[in-house]
């Protein structure tokens, strides 16, 4: 062995140097991690143990014009889970399946939510019952990554009565998440899916908060004050609407179970919507937290289509309610004078070319003035007026009166009316071929609200705002804002008086809606009976009118599917107007029209 003192001393020195070098290298590595890079590791340390739990913001409360609640928020429970991986999520779901009675759909939905946002807690049940929560709380220790949260749940105290305009909320869909207007939204979040809820989503949404739970390595929340303060959710401000909830309830009660269709009531000057109801309706409360499959099926298989809003989505031939448009176009084009009689008297119909065009009154109306023709709704008069105006001007006038456009009501999914294009030749050629139509026959049809003209109830109401006021149409508005008006009629004072008198005559013993007259209230309006393509024997019923006739405060448009005759719609409308103006005793429970 080489244990000479010199050798030993050399090896001792070398070893000591090697040890010192090893020590310095190790210490250097620690210096880098703990002094130079500590900030980055501190962040990682916080990310590691802080689990952000999104706190849903309460949506803005929706009020009617008198401060009554239309939509509010109630406390509910959501069940979510944080999973480090998809496999872990699947395993947890499988474990929870019997307790939560999860269906395959629930599981697939949760998996999709996880894939979209793996770092957020994945919502398993958006609205869990208290029974389920109790069971879960008992087994809390078994499910460390489970988050049971009290969340605001949308509630509509009057449910089906307000569904037509308030819409509903639901979980944001996969496709919506890709849309620019939903930037910043996450899977599982609740959004407005229809009606005001959708239209005013940005206003009603509020600002989501976040709570930082300190969790251990197994994902169990532990007690302790996290270094990062929570951010409380900020609820949205309330939304004030023009709706008169009492009137809305009354409208719904008038429709009851027997009448199908829709009605809108508004202030003619401002367009403020007082009531908007489509019957049959649905319960938006059942849509919150996921629509139950059986309810969804029930709604979709109902032949009366409860999810279809008959006020803004149904497009129907406007029938005789349109005659006022024909009259207005005739007056604006100065092709007719108010007291002028048409050359051909009404004998129950009129021959034009090879076809005989009937009047609804088989016995005929004889010679009529314009106001008389409006009162009696004489088709023969308007056939002749239509011919005088001519197809191009009739269509052009209709377009100027905004019949080719949506009303612009502040609700999503309003349907566009069907109306010819200004270039009538191209339009009809395209539709029927160059030899398939004549300007005369089409004018005749169009003049009485038939033919290529299907209007929504709200669009007809908008036109009548011009008749009810001084010629301005007012865009219907559910939420309070400055009125959006456009002058479309320039009648002389004399013309206005005559027209309104004629309209008032409709709801008098002389007119087609005589049975709807109300003592002490002069109602002006027009009935309409539209052919029904589904059942030729039972027509649809229209009425659009306003009251009091001289200084209107309310305008009502009613459409009844299979209502058979306009007077039935007029009855409904007059009840609504009477109720609003206080002209008849209040009888909310009236469900049938006598």
């Amino acid at each position: 062995m080489s244990f000479h003192p010199n050798d030993i001393a050399r090896r001792t020195r070398l070893s000591s140097v090697a040890l010192a070098v090893g020590f310095v290298l190790l210490l250097g590595a620690f210096f880098r991690a703990q002094v130079l890079e500590t900030a980055a590791y501190t962040v990682q340390s916080q990310e590691n143990r802080l689990r952000p739990i999104p706190l849903p913001a309460p949506r803005g409360i929706i009020y009617d014009r008198k401060g009554q609640i239309i939509a509010e928020n109630l406390p509910a429970y959501s069940v979510s889970i944080t999973a480090p991986s998809l496999d872990s999520l699947r395993a947890s779901l499988k474990q929870l399946q019997p307790t939560l009675q999860l269906t395959e759909t629930d599981i697939n939905r949760a998996v999709r939510r996880y894939r979209r946002a793996p770092t957020r807690p994945t919502v398993i049940l958006a609205d869990a019952s208290i029974d389920v929560i109790s069971v879960l709380e008992e087994h809390r220790i078994d499910y460390p990554r489970l988050i049971i949260q009290s969340v605001p749940k949308r509630f509509y105290p009057d449910g089906p009565l307000v569904a037509s305009f308030v819409g509903y909320t639901g979980e944001i869909s996969e496709s919506d998440l890709n849309l620019p207007q939903y930037e910043g939204y996450n899977p599982g979040q609740s959004v407005g899916r229809g009606g005001l809820e959708k239209q005013y989503e940005k206003v009603l949404r509020g600002i989501e908060g976040v709570r930082y739970d300190e969790v251990d390595a197994r994902g169990r929340a532990v007690q302790g004050v996290g270094p990062r303060p929570d951010k409380d959710a900020r609820g949205a401000p309330p939304l004030q609407t023009n709706i008169d909830l009492d009137l809305q309830k009354f409208v719904a009660s008038v429709f009851g179970d027997s009448l199908r269709g829709g009605a809108i009531a508004l202030e003619p000057n401002s367009g403020a919507v007082l009531a908007l109801y489509s019957n049959p309706s649905f319960d938006p409360n059942r849509f919150t937290g996921g629509i139950p499959a059986d309810y969804w099926k029930e709604l979709n298989t109902d032949p009366w289509r409860p999810l279809f809003n008959k006020v803004i989505q149904g497009t129907y031939p406007p029938a005789s309610t349109w005659k006022l448009a024909t009259a207005a176009i005739g007056l604006e084009n100065k092709v007719v004078k108010l007291e002028e009689r048409m050359s051909i008297p009404c004998n129950g119909g009129m021959q034009y070319g090879s076809r005989y065009f009937r009047c609804w009154e088989k016995r005929g109306h004889g010679y009529q003035t314009l106001s008389g023709a409006i009162e009696k709704s004489c088709d023969v008069y308007f056939y002749q007026l239509g011919l005088r105006i001519g197809l191009s001007k009739l269509v052009g006038g209709g377009i100027d009166l905004q019949f080719a456009d949506r009303s612009g009501i502040d609700l999503p999914n309003e349907y566009k009316p069907r109306f010819p294009a200004r270039d009538v030749r191209t339009y009809y050629n395209k539709r029927y071929g160059p030899r398939g139509w004549t300007a005369g026959a089409n004018s005749l049809n169009l003049s009485i609200g038939q033919g290529e003209n299907s209007q929504t109830v709200v669009n007809m109401a908008k036109f009548y705002t011009a008749l009810a006021t001084d010629g301005h149409t007012a865009t219907p508005a559910l939420v309070k804002r400055d009125p959006d008006r456009k002058k479309v009629l320039t009648f002389s004072p004399n013309q206005w008086t005559t027209i309104r008198t004629a309209l008032a005559g409709v709801v008098s013993s002389r007119g087609t809606a005589g049975g709807s007259a109300i003592k002490g209230l002069v109602i002006a309006g027009k009935t309409g009976t539209a052919q029904n393509s589904e059942n030729p024997n039972v027509d649809h019923a229209w009425f659009v009118g306003f009251a009091p006739a001289e200084k209107p405060t309310i305008l009502v448009a009613v459409f009844l599917e299979f209502g058979d005759h306009g007077w039935l719609a007029a009855r409904v409308a007059s009840k609504i107007m009477g109720r609003y103006t206080g002209a008849v005793p209040i009888e909310i429970a009236t469900t049938e029209i006598e």
Binding site: M1, R11, S16, G22, F30, Q34, E37, T42, R49, D216
Partner: protein
Amino acid sequence: MRRTVADYPLVLTALILSLFGVAMVYSAGQTDTPTAVAKVYKSQLVWLLFGMLGAYGISRSSVRFLEWVTVPAYIFSTLLLALTLVIGAGAGTAASTKSWIAIGGVRLGQPSELAKITVVMMLAHVLAARKEPPKSLLDLWKPALVVGVPWLIIMLQPDLGTGIVFIGIFFGMLYWSGVSWPLLLLLGSPLVSGILAFSTGLWGAWFLVLAALVLYYRPYLVEGIVLMVANIGTGIIAPILWEKLAPYQQNRLLTFLDPSSDPRASGYHVLQSKIAIGSGGFSGKGFTLGTQKRLAFLPEQHTDFIFAVVGEEIGFIGVTLALTLFLIVFLRITRIAGRANDSFSSLVAFGLMTSWFVHVLVNVGMTLNLMPITGIPLPFFSYGGSFMLACWLAVGILARISGEGRGKAAFQTS
């Protein structure tokens, strides 16, 4: 004359390290969700007391006695090691191994801890018996056998960490016995080949270096041939052996290269350890207040990753303190080895120092991903009865050697 003066620098530093360690084991048990670890510091204290008693006992016996018991002790410990292959059990990060002697599910101890001491003593015994230091590879067959047999058993358990320690001891003691650098390099060359064989280019380059080394050193022909064959052999076998490794073992080694490649599984431990240490900063989060530890993000925080707790709670200051204490111990032992009365004592001292040094280097390096995760404990710190006992028995031996050394005192000498 009886001298009753202990080797204060060594014993005191070891005692400070041990108490520091017990404190950290206590802290490691302070978690938000209480576990059984909360109370293990008490048994660690008991083992420390046992260890110190053992050290005192050993320091009272002579080095000659130790040399006398070396052969039977070596045989006994090797047999115990072999027994683990029959009735062995695992624990903690080494749950799938057979490192512990267990009877009826009760783990009695880890024979490899005893073997580390007996192998050091046996190797010292063999090397000290030589008149000249080994001059050729062929001269090394005896030392190789002394280390090789227990090493093989340990690798069969398998316990890679302890295996590395044995290799460290082997090379360290050969170096201390006077084996030249080139010979040590040649000896270690197959190991290098085994690592570089995964890249043909690197392996080729290594062969050029090896050839230069052989030309410089000019070993015997047979030796040269054996060396080359060994290098080629390991180069060929290594990739095959790699394929035979269990996926978790492969993962451990791969994760060492890139811990973020598998942050939720194999890389998890080292990532969490780095986060704990890094977030500890300069002065730490405070004793018992480490969040990563408290929330159990740190794996094996009372055993293999105890140093991460030091880093998190006492920060760079604590790390520097602990490493400085270790450095003092190592330098002190090197000094004891340099001043020992005889080559056996000197080799034993240096062997024990090497063993601890490898432990510290690998364990501490592992917490910062400088070394692969091999489940190797930190002397005086990591929770574990047999290890604490073994460490203090070694302190006793070292104190004795120090005492018998040139005028320096042990615990007590007669």
